[in-house]
Symmetry: C2
């Protein structure tokens, strides 16, 4: 392998550092108008009136659009169908009007002049209460819009085949999922030890640097074009076509380089700018402010998880019952109940399980995808309890996990057996790590914890093309929005498959008008799926090149090789023909050779991912402050195509996980107003607070991935909070915090409530 396994810098790093990357907000567009949103100031209300006269009187304001002005023809579930509130406001920050003006400043001025009169309703904010039968509804109008599957549809019962349980639910329940196997009651009853707990996790913001941004215009022939900071070109195109009643070909979506996304950049503002462009017939751009983005974009919802699980005396896991309440917020955008249920038991062999998840509507923004959706809360809960179980059984916590971890062929929570799966290898890597061996030698107040996380991995069909250019360089063309350095990864794959230096590979993200199909860049699947298509395309192009070289050199293709940028008879350097020379012979008027191009198309099975974490913390018993002193992440990546990039993902995921563990939360007050809507209020990890992170790359190759690689983006975030929680417990003689983030106050309160080993409880917590 000449390219695979070699660490090279990300191609997008230098332009980003130099400031030459053209993000969505940077594209120059002639005649551009700027939009600014008017956000609702109540969490739940009826709209009495929207007065636009003052705004429209302002010079430079072109239009003030409200829901009735948007030329949408489709209805259905999800915010895309209602990008501006119609009659009812269902969360604080919901866009109710859009001011479009000749400059961004003038649009801002105009937005301040729009008067929105609201008739407040009681907001539904308590997640548990909202899920109880008879709860007031988080939405009272427009319930029949959603193609027969409206908000009220899923309210009746949770019942899964073979279980026979029924439960009356609130009309706020958007969807439910239950996975079960075996007799959980019997399994728990027969257990040597049973532990249980109730865990809560907050609303979480992705924290990308670039806010939601999109620009739309109509071509003179009426074609709608969007330049968007989106993770999904084709599905955005198809969704917009549906919304506006256009054939798919009449919409063109180009993804711009993403300034971070983490799952959050999917059809949030595209309908708004597109609608404005259609109405006004001029280009329109919308760049959310940071506070708008935090209040009204796509954060992950809060969760409450109740788990009960057991083991026999030898530490074999018996039964598990879980119930996950997911705060889906105001709109049914993203159904996560199945995955939330599935992930709530970890990747272990359970004799019996019953996993239930309920998605509940409240008057908060809307649950969006954020790096391994629902997985960090699940791992926080189940990995905390497994540690407790190990303690009760007096088994080493890593040993307990190794005894029960699922492997290839074991039944997955959803039923089908796991495919090849490196969770055990990750745990073993931690077991053999010097930090684990040294865990008994820590000073007082320090502790080491471990946790295991997994992510099932997305899959979606993908295609890619490779084209040899006249200068002998190879162009790789895909429709995959560039995230996480996929461009660099594609270059590695194509270089390896074609047989030239990665520097001679150019990677192009084409727009939907001409790109080979690619699904959204999400679900940890771009390298796995599109990368595999790139590999096939490059192999095909190489075969074509050999066909031409075979004619030019009069040697059978199977006797040729590529060395140092030349095609030559195997072992005969002197007879080589440089690829650029061959390319220029091929690509000219009157050439007898077809172009050297290749095209790859794939669909593959899921390739689950896992990462195990070891966290070493110090807990200040006086303040409750937790300092992470060191952290190890061991992740099964299938194959590290570019170890530097893989380590970047592992570190980045770990850092976001530390945010989950210790710092981050979108807090809504008793009126549903976001109180942490700036980066001053919303604490994120910074370079100064992140410890050294050791990365342990585990390679268990996946047969269907390019050179054995699989997705690496989501797995590393999953189990960080669990590991930190277990480390806190280890540092404090077993003090358990069951609420994220584990802020100093929460840790201090837990410490105060907990008897110090061999002593009295700490003094009772004071009101802060």
């Amino acid at each position: 392998m000449a390219a695979v396994g070699v660490s090279t810098p990300r191609r997008d790093s230098e332009p980003k550092v130099r400031g030459t990357t053209r993000f969505a907000a940077d594209a120059p567009v002639a005649g551009l108008l700027h939009a600014r949103l008017v956000l609702a100031h109540e969490a739940h209300a009826m709209i009495s009136e929207i007065r636009r006269e003052a705004a429209l009187a302002l010079e430079g304001v072109v239009a003030v659009l409200t829901a009735a002005d948007l030329p949408l023809v489709a209805t259905g579930r999800g915010r895309q169908y209602e990008p501006l509130a119609r009659e009812e406001v269902i969360y604080a920050g919901q866009p109710v009007a859009m001011v479009v003006a000749e400059s961004e400043a003038r649009a801002e001025d105009g937005a301040e002049l729009v008067e929105v009169e609201l008739e407040p309703l009681e907001p539904v904010l308590d997640l548990e209460a909202a899920g109880r039968p008879g709860a007031p509804r988080a939405r009272v109008t427009g319930l029949d819009d959603a193609d027969g599957s409206d908000l009220g549809d899923a309210h009746a019962t949770v019942s899964a085949a073979g279980v026979g349980q029924e439960e009356e639910l609130s009309e706020n329940v958007l969807d439910t999922a239950r996975l079960s196997n075996g007799d959980v009651d019997a399994a728990l009853a027969g257990s040597h030890v049973v532990v249980s707990g109730r865990f809560t996790t907050p609303w979480m913001y992705q924290g990308y640097l670039e806010p939601q941004t999109a620009t739309a215009w109509l071509d003179p022939d009426g074609r709608l074009t969007i330049w968007s900071a989106t993770q999904a070109t084709f599905s955005t195109r198809d969704a917009l076509a549906r919304l506006f009643g256009l054939p798919g070909e009449r919409v063109r979506v180009a993804s711009t380089p993403l300034g971070g996304a983490f799952g959050g950049k999917l059809m949030i503002i595209d309908p708004l700018v597109a609608a404005a462009a259609v109405v006004l017939r001029r280009p329109v751009r919308l760049v959310m402010t940071r506070s708008e983005d935090m209040a009204a974009a796509n954060p992950a919802g809060a969760e409450m998880l109740s788990l009960e699980l057991g083991a026999d005396a030898d530490g074999n896991l018996t039964g598990i019952r879980t119930r996950v309440l997911v705060d889906r917020g105001a709109t049914d955008d993203f159904g996560v109940e199945s995955i939330a249920a599935m992930l709530s038991c970890g990747s272990y062999r359970w004799a019996a399980h019953e996993l239930t998840a309920l998605g509940i509507a409240t008057n908060r923004v809307t649950f969006g995808a954020y790096r391994a959706p629902t997985a960090p809360p699940a791992a926080f809960a189940v990995e905390s309890l497994l540690d407790e179980l190990a303690g009760r059984l007096e088994i080493d916590p890593l040993e307990l996990r190794l005894r029960n971890v699922a492997g290839e062929g074991d039944r997955s929570p959803a039923g089908p057996p796991f495919p090849i799966f490196g969770a055990r290898d990750c745990l073993e890597r931690l077991r053999d790590h010097p930090r684990w061996s040294a865990r008994g030698e820590l000073p007082d107040g320090e502790g080491i914890g471990v946790a295991l996380g997994w992510w099932p991995g997305g899959y979606e069909p993908a295609a890619a093309a490779c084209r040899l250019d006249a200068d002998g360089n190879l162009t790789v063309i895909t429709g995959a929005a560039d995230m996480s350095g996929v461009e660099t990864g594609f270059a590695t794959i194509a270089a390896e498959a074609f047989g030239i230096d990665p520097e001679r590979i150019r990677v192009v993200t084409a727009d939907t008008s001409s790109a080979p199909y690619a699904g959204m860049s999400g679900g940890s699947k771009v390298t796995y799926t599109v990368g595999r298509a790139v590999e096939r395309a490059a192999i095909e192009a190489r075969e074509r090149l050999f066909e031409v070289a075979s004619q030019e050199l009069e040697i059978a293709p199977e006797d040729l090789e590529i060395v140092d940028g030349a095609v030559r008879p195997a072992g005969v350097p002197a007879k080589g023909l440089a690829i650029d020379e061959l390319a220029s012979r091929i690509l000219q008027f009157g050439s007898p050779h077809p172009p050297v191009e290749g095209h790859g198309r794939v669909s593959q099975p899921q390739a689950p991912q896992s990462a195990a974490h070891l966290s070493h913390v110090r807990v200040d018993r006086d303040t409750g402050a937790v300092t992470v002193l060191a952290h190890v992440v061991a992740q099964d990546v299938g194959r590290a195509l570019n170890p530097a990039l893989v380590e970047g993902q592992m570190r980045g995921g770990t850092v976001q996980g530390l945010g989950w563990a210790l710092l981050e939360q979108l807090v809504h007050d008793g009126h549903g107003q976001l109180t942490t809507g700036t980066f001053v209020d919303y604490a994120m990890p910074t370079a100064g607070t992140v410890p050294a992170i050791d990365t342990e790359i585990v390679e268990v190759p996946v047969p269907e991935g390019p050179y054995g690689a699989k997705g690496v983006g989501e797995a590393p975030v999953v189990a960080v909070a669990g590991a930190v929680a277990n480390a806190i417990a280890a540092a404090t003689g077993g003090v358990r915090v069951r609420e994220l983030p584990m802020t100093p106050e929460r840790v201090w309160r837990a410490l105060a409530a907990h008897p110090r080993p061999g002593g009295a409880p700490d003094r009772a917590p004071q009101s802060l």
Copy 2:
């Protein structure tokens, strides 16, 4: 065949009629600057000084660029290397400076204020004299620029293998070609009849509606992007990369819809706007005015053709000797000597031939490609003489041609045998046409003539992609600049190959960053080459669709068919699955099927084309005015994919041929100044003067073409002037005009010099 052979309107017609087509000058570009050229007012001069101060003082003028300001790093033959004159002006109208301003009007004002001081040199304007040894040179400086193949290189001798003749030539001779076979002297000496003549044809303007237009800018990362009304995306990209010393990937060329081109739109102004954008780091557009375009763009050069040819008493052609002087103008852009020599003997079987062409530099603009370059003059000459030969032999002129026309396997003038070739079929179609049968019954002053033309056809590797979209429509992606309705043709081909309605095919011309390779749209090869690649791509996509449908329907792929937009078991409509349903099952998260896409790559042999013309004219003996009363064109098109489009090409070519025959000429005065530089002075055919044109489609399928099709663009222009000349002779008892266009004055002078059959000559011409 459901799509092939069906006449459908051109897809680009309606948007062009409605005015929604976005031509190169219509693209909105933020921060756009406008360029205007300062043209030289002498045909040959040294540049003493260019004073820019006054222009630069004008508000809104951003820069006045001269040759020294352009950041070109490559040297070579051709205007692209010297888009602004350096020290020497070599034709009147040559750009010497470029003013760039905030508006087009201000650039125009600025250009008027640039003072260009020239030191005149004697212009070289007489084509014959310029070719004689010792002639003054049309260029005296910069002769060593051209990579060792400069203007002086080809001056020494004309000598072809086996001929042994040598001839001293002028240093103005840019290149020569000689094709010979057999002993021409002996063949002519042994002939029963020998005829000879000397023919001249003028400089000719393509007459496209849209003048040369291009816009260039630098992306923030430094990538050079050109939106150009160009026929050649990839070769423009590669040429610009070479010029500016950039890797190919750092240049992106997008072809805009062409408002006509006919061969003329190739790298004329792209280097100028690109250089200005590179220097100024802002977007720059240049749209030539009509007069600039006529004076300084890419017209076809004048020619002088001397032919001598013979036949035996039975009408079998014996020997032919030709000598073609081509006025290449000031710069060595486009070497046409080989093709000019080859075409000068027509597509006939000659016992012996010696065909010579010399390209000679003069102080006129520069010879550019124009629909079948050098073919109309060649056919005008040889077809006129063949008619004379038939008259001398008292053989029917069509019969003479049929006796000698080349067919498959006959030696071509260049040596290799003709492939399958429909010239005979075209002649037979005319022979059987009622207008030919009725030629004896015409009133006095009317006549019918025929002529045969051919074009060897271009070939170049090509690729294309097809993609099934989620809505069940098929997108065809190529890099071929859209000319002559190729988009419509691709839709026909893809519809036929994939098996759906052409309305469900979308055709996309991608830019060089992501398009499959395609050569320039020229040489009558887009449908033949790229169209064939489209066919293969669509067939491959259909196979992929059947693989998916086979799994979904659990039926073997070979038992499936596509009917009415659904895939179904052959003959079982009830079990069909609509393609849009299949597509939406395929293109989604979690789908097990790979995308349905196809990719085609081809290289093919040349596919020569031919068209025979019959022209019916009336000659006014008092004024010399020629009226074309009717015209028939019989053309071998291989296979008419869309007969309406093919007929459009046949009619359009014929109309341009009538321009050659009777109307058009770019006239330069004794100082080398263009005197017909507006459409007031340059006479083109108009709807009022064009007769009804009967089209006779002849189909001799080419095995390598899509459904047997080959190029149709160039052949129909070739023999029009020859047919009209022969018709004039038929109408006037044999009066021959040997100079194009056959204006009333020239016809009248020829009539005056010719004895009226059975009478005295007409009165001697008066000076007009």
